[in-house]
């Protein structure tokens, strides 16, 4: 019976949210087994990070007070700012690059195009600036790849619009998953079921018949979407029972580690496709260096924790990691010790079939973006383009194999063929 439900919910979770998708198309590959990856995780440095203290070091023109140009360090193709002596806790750039530099792909000189938090966060999350309807990449890939996963798209903050394609899941506290994992038993105790099995089967059958009947009835689009998502949510929720075995006995104290454990347990259990992890307070108007030297190391330590635990859970090879922020910081300090918003920044990637030890794009000595040739992937001051979030998102969609998916097409990014980043992932 469960397989039948999943056949239905295979389209229930998405089909009716996208009117032009024929249900049969969307339900062609119902899954009755855990989602096995790839798992997509987006790390957000919310508030606007100072990229010159991480992957795009300068040390000139009074851009940085903590180091000079000559102090800049390298790891393979990467140049990075030294922070081992200035970091307050967390993980230094030195350690981070030593550990992950060979896998990291950095793009510098990304033009966020705006320098306000809200539109910047939306633009970086979705690749679309002038719409409130577009889904984030994490939501889109979850909807395309695992609509029948009960926690397909997990979010811990930042801009998280779903485009009505998939439900957004917030799990504030890991043990709370334990409480709901076995919903048909009193207090989750499997020896105390609410209903005898034959009665429960009858209930599920009646719900299925009711849903089938509704599917045959003319309904408003909102009704179709609401009813099908509800049905899918209830049926698919049974898979949450798989999560409990991966819930660690103790909850870590660090805020990113807490998010990581929830996401990793969900990935490992095969109930989640993507997760949006975030920490805030990067908005260092008042005291840039002190703030960034506390937060960047904390952020990197969180990423490190995530990757380390993924290794232990044996899902590391299936992880696709995007590390981003909604804006950068100005190339000069303000009248205090802070730095204000800057519309140029960077983004990091790591994952299978993403060639590491690479840096593309650049900013100049004044932290302006250098135009970039999307085909040769070289800097081209004369004929290059300004690489903006839609270019990166178009490339991400192609990388994830969802660019031609009906749901992705419903939210076109409008990147002309001549501007598409070619062989971007190496």
């Amino acid at each position: 019976m469960r397989r039948d439900f999943l056949k239905l919910c295979g389209f229930a979770g998405l089909g009716f949210a996208v009117p032009f998708v024929h249900p049969k198309t969307a339900s062609a590959a119902p899954k009755d087994e855990p989602y096995a990856g790839p798992y997509y995780v987006v790390f957000n440095a919310s508030g606007g990070w100072d990229t010159t203290y991480l992957m795009d070091p300068k040390g000139v023109n009074e851009i940085n007070r903590l180091y000079k140009e000559g102090d800049i360090l390298t790891k393979g193709a990467h140049k990075y700012a030294p922070t081992a002596k200035t970091a307050k806790g967390g993980m230094s750039n030195e350690d981070f690059y030593a550990k992950y530099g060979s896998e990291l792909f950095a793009f510098n000189g990304l033009d966020y195009s705006v320098n306000n938090h809200s539109p910047g966060a939306r633009y970086m999350a979705t690749g679309k600036l002038d719409s409130l309807a577009y889904p984030t990449f994490a939501a889109l890939v979850a909807a395309c790849r695992g609509p029948d996963c009960p926690l397909a798209f997990l979010t811990f903050g930042n801009y998280s619009n779903t485009g009505n394609l998939v439900a957004m899941s917030r799990v504030p506290y890991l043990p709370s998953l334990q409480k709901i994992a076995n919903a048909d038993a009193v207090e989750g105790n499997l020896r105390a079921p609410y209903h005898d099995p034959f009665a429960l089967d009858r209930i599920e059958q009646a719900l299925k018949e009711s849903q089938d009947a509704r599917n045959r009835t003319p309904r408003l689009p909102r009704e179709e979407r609401g009813e099908s998502m509800l049905y899918a949510a209830q049926v698919n929720s049974k898979a949450l029972a798989r999560v409990t075995q991966y819930i660690p006995k103790s909850v870590p104290k660090e805020r990113m580690a807490q998010q990581a454990e929830i996401a990793l347990a969900s990935f490992k259990a095969g109930v989640c496709v993507s997760a949006n992890l975030t920490i805030g307070q990067f908005d260092s108007h008042a005291n840039n260096d002190a703030d960034q030297m506390k937060l960047i190391p904390e952020f990197l330590a969180g990423i490190d924790y995530f990757l380390r635990r993924a290794e232990e859970l044996k899902i590391r090879e299936q992880l696709v990691v995007v590390v981003q922020s909604e804006m950068g910081r100005t190339p000069m300090y303000n009248s205090g010790n802070g730095k204000d918003h800057w519309s140029i920044g960077s983004i990091l990637f790591l994952g299978p079939k993403i060639r590491g030890n690479r840096v593309l794009g650049a900013t100049d000595d004044k932290q302006f973006a250098v135009p970039f040739d999307p085909k040769s992937l070289a800097l081209d001051k004369d004929k290059g383009i300004r690489v903006r979030p839609e270019h990166v998102h178009e490339a991400l969609r192609e990388y994830a194999g969802i660019a031609e998916h009906a749901m992705a097409k419903k939210f076109p990014l409008g990147v002309a063929e001549k501007e598409r980043l070619t062989n971007f992932w190496g």
């Binding site: 009117p19 320098n115 809200s118 719409s131 917030r170 709901i180 609410y194 005898d196 009704e223 302006f368």
Partner: protein, 771 residues
């Protein structure tokens, strides 16, 4: 543009046949002639408002040009029509001007003739074609209708809730209860016309005000103040001696130390809760007493309880006015005196000696929820002001510029010099300046306080929409702002939109942006239809002296709220897009779901709180501020738990009551079996469908058949099982630990458990979990 020119243009257009064919001849004054739909829908709706307005308006990059437009987005009535006329005239003027036989308008938009905004349209774009059509009409009038004359009425094929169903929807939504028998009889007798009077009565109930406060907190989020309210709301600087009154409160009459400590905790918690509750209590007070809703920005008082009054130091003057001075949550309006600081420099300026209250605007809770910073300079407050009170999110649809970094670097003060920045900051910064005397970053220390050296000079001066704040008004700048807000036509529209959010859980539609979207016209029509209703209600709201109850009643009576389904299948994608947002279909929030359980079963579930509420898509008003619109798998699991558990708690318990006192099973007994008592069982199912789902099914309907089949199937299955207990499950027995519990749990035919399965099934249905 001089009025004489407008008059001339309008007369000229009328004389040359520019009046669209579908319009009736206009017999009034020429300059007051209605603007045609083609201009409103296409030229303005699709091009002018999207591509031109940003720069070509007062304060915009192109404000020095001769092509100045007005934003009509939040205007209503005559103000809107006038703005439309002005915009049409501006477009018409540009359309008829030529450069080498070509329309200057069409040349400018593709970046020629030194257009300051470069190319804003491509020559093959849909938007350009619209302008070309407009130019053609202006110069050679042959107007085509803007709206497809064959288009069906917007609500054609959409079914509306019949009065009983509408009543249930409204009472559950507004007061978290089912309709009473008397109310049902009234609507059965009088139809929908009976609803306003019933709703008037509903809106006197305390439960309505619980929902009202909850709904408005979803918008203003004032419960999300950081830190303990006794410190965040009441500052050390101005309330040093009173804000921590609870620490010295005499609890010595409680002899037990532990009990005394617990009482102390409760005292502090209740006090903090009372403080946090004040802003929403202000809204309650205004609505409950039919005061003009504009008081949310003009009220010259705040609401205080006996506990919070102690914090302000005004308890002694009020204590005789409270019905119960020991009730932490009884609220009264009060005017505070101007603040006295610990030092003279922090005394508040006041020409009257009073605190310059201005509704929510000057409430400490609102100021603390949206604090300023050294670099933010009150701009967050200004942004929230526009969003909350005028319905404009200045950051929602930020314009993209070709190189924001270059623009930022080029100017010393980009917010005053760079056109890309000026366009918003000229509006935002003056309002930020009105909050200038609330310039303290550590709300624990002070909210009120002036900036040393005076307000920033590298910002546009304090004021509102082009009007500068007169210096003598500075001490009451927020009152000055509130007075203007109350008169601003956008206020009424914004409040009507808030009411829609409260009722539907979603924001009013925004106009579509993508002209090349093949469904643009359909989406635009959906937006316009909803906008017409919003504007109509806003008009009535203004005329009613801003009675907010009227807004709720108008929405409930509107087609948008009454929509209940579809009569025929939607095949045309365009029609589908038109109706995409139609219907309430709202996933109930945790609080609403609890209330609904309480309404149907007589007692709430009481488990959808804390973490479970967050997991079920709830908000904390701080980090999580938007409710989940769609159920995740985690929420699906909670729905299963709820359905199992609520059925478990209530089915056997209901059967244990005398038949007349039962809520669920008044007409059926556990001994009634499907093969013998089918009629009674079907009648019981009809009752359950009505009570739990709000459905009015016939006993022989397919829906009732399905539920009957479920019940009968389980009873039959049970007969086949060996070793089944003859009693209801231990966990679901009523009063299971009391004498006689075993007898009450008797279930020899498995019917009680089958009914429990039926109730579980119904509780998992969308009709129960959605509104």
């Amino acid at each position: 543009m001089p009025a004489r020119t407008i008059l001339f243009l309008t007369l000229w257009m009328a004389g040359t046949g520019l009046i669209p064919a579908q319009d009736k001849p206009y017999a009034g004054a020429a300059c007051a002639r209605p603007v045609d739909d083609f201009f409103k829908d296409d030229v303005w709706g699709k091009v002018g408002s999207q591509k031109c307005l940003t720069c070509h308006q007062k304060g915009g990059d192109a404000e020095e040009s001769q092509f100045i437009l007005k934003d009509i987005a939040k205007l209503t009535g005559e103000a809107k029509e006038t703005a439309h006329r002005q915009n049409r005239n501006a477009f018409a003027t540009m359309a008829e001007r030529k450069h080498k036989d070509q329309s200057r308008l069409l040349l400018k938009v593709v970046g020629e003739l030194d257009h300051g905004g470069d190319a804003v349209l491509k020559a093959d774009s849909e938007a350009y074609k619209i302008l070309a059509k407009f130019v053609g009409r202006v110069n050679a009038p042959a107007p085509a209708p803007a709206i497809d004359p064959k288009a069906p009425p917007f609500f054609e094929g959409v079914s509306m809730a019949e009065p009983r169903k509408l009543l249930r929807r409204a009472t559950l939504s507004l007061a978290g209860r089912l309709p009473t028998e008397a109310e049902l009889k009234t609507v059965e007798r009088d139809g929908a016309s009976a609803l306003p009077a019933i709703l008037d009565a509903v809106m006197t109930e305390d439960a309505f005000y619980d929902r009202l406060r909850e709904g408005f907190n979803d918008i203003f989020l004032t419960l999300g103040i950081d830190g303990n309210a006794d410190a965040s709301v009441l500052s050390y600087e101005h309330f040093e001696k009173t804000r921590l009154w609870y620490q010295k409160y005499d609890l010595s009459h409680i002899k037990d130390e532990n009990a005394r400590r617990q009482a102390g905790y409760k005292l502090a918690n209740d006090y903090r809760k009372a403080l946090l509750g004040e802003p929403m209590k202000l809204i309650e007070h205004i609505v409950r007493n039919d005061r003009p809703f504009t008081e949310i920005v003009t009220a010259d008082y705040i609401m205080v309880s006996p506990y919070s009054a102690r914090g302000y130091g005004v308890f002694d003057q009020l204590k005789d006015q409270f019905k119960n001075p020991d009730d932490p949550f009884e609220y009264l309006p009060v005017k505070l005196k101007a603040l006295k600081g610990r030092s003279k420099e922090n005394h508040q300026d006041s020409a009257t000696g009073d605190y310059p209250h201005a509704g929510l605007l000057a409430q400490f809770q609102y100021l603390a929820r949206y604090p300023t910073t050294e670099t933010n300079r009150n701009r967050l407050r200004a942004r929230m002001y526009y969003q909350h009170f005028l319905g404009i999110d200045v950051l929602e649809l930020a314009a993209r510029v070709s190189d924001a970094a270059a623009a930022q670097a080029k100017f010393k003060v980009p917010t005053m010099e760079a056109a890309e920045c000026v366009v918003c900051h000229r509006t935002l910064d003056p309002v930020a300046g009105l909050f200038q005397d609330y310039w303290r970053f550590d709300s624990n220390f002070a909210l009120y306080g002036k900036r040393k050296g005076g307000w920033f000079t590298d910002m546009f001066a304090a004021g509102f929409e082009g009007e500068e704040l007169p210096k003598p008004e500075r001490w009451r700048a927020l009152q000055w702002l509130g007075e203007r807000t109350a008169k601003d036509p956008r206020f009424a529209v914004a409040m009507v939109e808030h009411a829609w959010y409260l009722l539907s859980g979603r924001k009013a539609l925004l106009p579509p942006k993508d002209l090349d979207d093949p469904l643009f016209a359909a989406k635009y029509r959906a937006y316009r239809e909803q906008r017409k209703t919003i504007e109509a209600i806003a008009g009535k709201f203004s005329q009613s002296h801003f009675n907010f109850k009227l807004v709720l009643k108008e929405w409930i009576a509107s087609d948008f709220y009454r929509v209940d389904g579809l009569a025929t299948e939607l095949k045309d994608p365009k029609r589908r897009a038109e109706l995409d947002d139609l219907g309430i279909v709202r996933l109930l929030a945790p609080e609403q779901l609890e209330r609904k359980v309480g309404a149907v079963f007589g007692a709430k579930w009481n488990r959808l709180d804390g973490e479970m509420a967050k997991l079920y898509g709830g908000i904390d008003s701080q980090e999580v501020t938007e409710r989940a619109a769609d159920p995740s798998g985690a929420m699906g699991a909670i729905q299963r738990i709820l359905s199992n558990d609520v059925a478990c708690r209530n089915v056997a318990k209901d059967f244990a009551r005398p038949a007349k006192e039962r809520m669920l099973f008044a007409g059926v007994e556990p001994g009634d079996l499907p093969d013998v008592d089918e009629k009674k069982i079907r009648a019981a199912i009809v009752h359950l469908h009505e009570r739990i789902l709000g459905r009015h099914d016939q006993p022989d309907s397919a829906e009732v058949d399905r539920t009957f089949k479920l019940f009968a199937g389980i009873v039959a299955d049970a007969k086949e099982q060996k070793g089944l207990d003859k009693r209801e499950s231990y966990y679901c027995r009523p009063e299971r630990d009391t004498p006689g519990a075993n007898e009450k749990a008797a279930d020899p035919h498995y019917t009680i458990r089958a009914w429990r399965a039926v109730v579980t099934y119904l509780l998992r249905r969308p009709e129960f979990l959605y509104e």
